[in-house]
């Protein structure tokens, strides 16, 4: 199984704050890798570093053999990366359709993907002409993920998709994310350990800006000590 993305020992500063102090992540193709760790550990910053929104000062980021370092965010996205930020970033004044349309990288992208998107998120079909600002939290989350599906992305960075959603909505969201691996690899940040453990094939634990552990999800589930040490809300 080849890696779509290799993040090698990156260091990222925000202002003068040294936020990431050595993060290494590998994302194999067509699988889900979970970034785990406590609040403030540096998970969001890792995703933003990959997208070039907080470019790392040191370390290497390789996507399908190409270095991402030094590239602008729009350039990185065009290589086939889709970003779903934790705040969802739905354009409130744009309709659902326009929110999807803006993600096209080639004319016709949305026409090609519309059926697939409606299949995964049936709600979006009846909301198609609604302004993004009037969707519920769960609907906005669906739209945010759907938007990343419009172009042919082969890596999706999804930040806290279950945050603030009702349990029944979370179930649907999980089913949807599982289906995405047919066409893309997923790097998932997820605070809800139950969700993360059911979805992900592999995990990377981040603690205080450093990646401290990684492996397969079954291995992690088999070591309560590890979970206790890094992931319990202590």
């Amino acid at each position: 199984m080849s890696a779509v993305l290799t993040v090698q020992d990156i260091h990222t500063f925000i202002g003068q704050f040294h936020i990431l102090e050595g993060v290494t992540v590998e994302v194999p193709d067509h699988s889900i890798t979970a970034l785990l760790g406590r609040n403030g550990a540096g998970k969001t910053t890792t995703l933003r570093s990959i997208m070039g929104l907080n470019p790392p000062a040191r370390g290497q980021i390789q996507y399908r053999g190409q270095a991402l370092n030094g590239r602008k965010p729009y350039d990185i996205a065009q290589l086939g990366l889709g970003y779903v930020p934790d705040y969802r970033a739905i354009f409130r004044q744009l309709t659902v359709e326009e929110n999807l349309k803006i993600a096209e990288r080639r004319p016709g992208d949305l026409d090609r993907k519309r059926q697939f998107i409606f299949e995964i998120f049936p709600d979006l079909e009846k909301l198609y002409q609604w302004p993004g600002g009037q969707l519920s939290g769960g609907q906005q989350q669906m739209l945010a993920i759907a938007r990343a599906l419009v172009p042919d992305n082969s890596l999706l960075l999804i930040d806290e998709p279950s945050e603030g959603l009702a349990p029944v909505i979370i179930e649907g969201m999980m089913a949807a994310i599982r289906r995405l691996t047919a066409q893309a690899a997923v790097l998932l940040v997820e605070q809800n350990f139950r969700v993360a453990s059911q979805l992900a094939d592999r995990y990377v634990i981040i603690e205080d800006g450093r990646s401290v552990h990684s492996g397969t999800m079954p291995d992690l589930l088999a070591s309560p000590a590890l979970i206790q040490k890094y992931l319990s809300a202590a």
Binding site: L53, P73, Y74, A77, F91, I102, A103, L127, Q134, P151
Partner: protein, 331 residues
């Protein structure tokens, strides 16, 4: 299922604006004779369109880039001078219609290119530094004013000759009105509609409306936002320069000619709700009509046009007291 909430707020603002125009009309009918009413209304519309041509770019740029371009009045002036330069540069036998059209297009192109240059060269280093932006855009405005003063002299240039077909007058309800001013109304209305279609119907429009809220996310979707910024800024200055050239047949061109218009444009944008395009479009006309009405009242009763400027300031204060975010502004 159809969304309604936002649409209702928008419709409310439109209704309020419509009622305001109706009110102005009633005042007009009460105070003036019909021939004067017609002329005042047309005059309000044509002034409003000129305000719109300056304010449109300013408001869109403010929404997208958080920059209040105080040099926009200077681009208005630049358009007038560019028009003169093109008029003079064309060979002697060129028909006046061709000259005029070339001057209009040339002014827009000049304004657009100069705007692009300004965005890339001067503004880009100053994003996220609002105080510097104010100083820079004001400074550039002064520099452009001084530049045309140095090249063309302080006196300014006599008004450009308009095509004979537009140099006529006509009568409405017994009042005399210049055809050329109707031409300005038509040009303004066409641009108002054109920009609206651009914003609502095109990919660029979607990107602009999205960028107003979250340009970082737009960029993360694979769009080169910097290039969009330059393009939008240049479109805004192009429209202002076009405005300056359309005004040249009766204002002429002189250093500082954009300054008064700039101040009114700022008032228009505030009344409309800062970054709302629809607000700017509607407020331009309201301000134009208010100003024309107050000007006529002032002339008729006090023999001075002084109330014209005062009226729009009062209008702004009144709007802000009732709606602090402006007519179409969002909280």
């Amino acid at each position: 299922m159809r969304p309604t909430l936002r649409v209702n707020v928008f419709r409310q603002s439109l209704i309020v604006s419509g009622l305001f125009v109706l009110g102005l009309l009633v005042v007009n009918l009460a105070v003036f004779k019909p021939s004067t009413v017609a002329v005042v209304m047309l005059s309000g519309l044509y002034q409003g369109m000129l305000f719109f041509l300056i304010a449109a770019g300013m408001s869109i740029v403010f929404g997208l880039l958080d920059v209040l371009n105080l040099a926009q009045g200077a681009f208005f002036m630049l358009g007038a001078y560019a028009g003169f330069a093109i008029y003079g540069a064309l060979p002697a036998g060129t028909p006046i219609e061709a000259r005029f059209l070339a001057a209009l297009l040339g002014a827009a192109v000049t304004g657009g290119l100069a705007g692009a240059l300004m965005e890339v060269g001067l503004l880009r280093p100053l994003y996220a530094r609002p105080v510097y932006q104010i100083v820079m855009t004001l400074g550039l405005s002064t520099a452009l004013n001084e530049m045309v003063r140095a090249i063309y002299g302080p006196a300014g240039l006599v008004p450009i000759e308009e095509p004979p077909a537009l140099a006529t007058t006509f009568t409405v309800l017994g009042g005399q009105f210049e055809t050329y001013r109707v031409f300005i109304i038509v040009v303004g209305a066409a641009l108002m509609l054109g920009i609206s279609l651009l914003l609502q119907r095109t990919r660029l429009g979607i990107i602009i409306r999205a960028g107003v809220q979250d340009s970082e996310m737009v960029q993360a979707l694979g769009i080169n936002v910097r290039r969009i910024f330059t393009l939008v800024f240049a479109l805004g200055t192009a429209v202002a320069a076009l405005g300056g050239m359309t005004a040249a047949p009766f204002l002429g061109a002189y250093p500082g000619m954009g300054t008064d218009f700039l101040l009114v444009a700022i008032i228009v944008i505030v009344i409309g709700g800062m970054s709302s395009y629809e607000g700017t479009a509607v407020a331009s006309l309201l301000v134009g009509l208010t100003r024309a009405t107050a000007e006529q009242i002032s002339l008729q009763y006090f023999n001075t046009p002084i109330l014209a400027s005062v009226s729009i300031l009062l209008f702004m204060v009144a709007v802000l007291l009732v709606r602090p975010t402006g007519l179409f502004g969002r909280e």
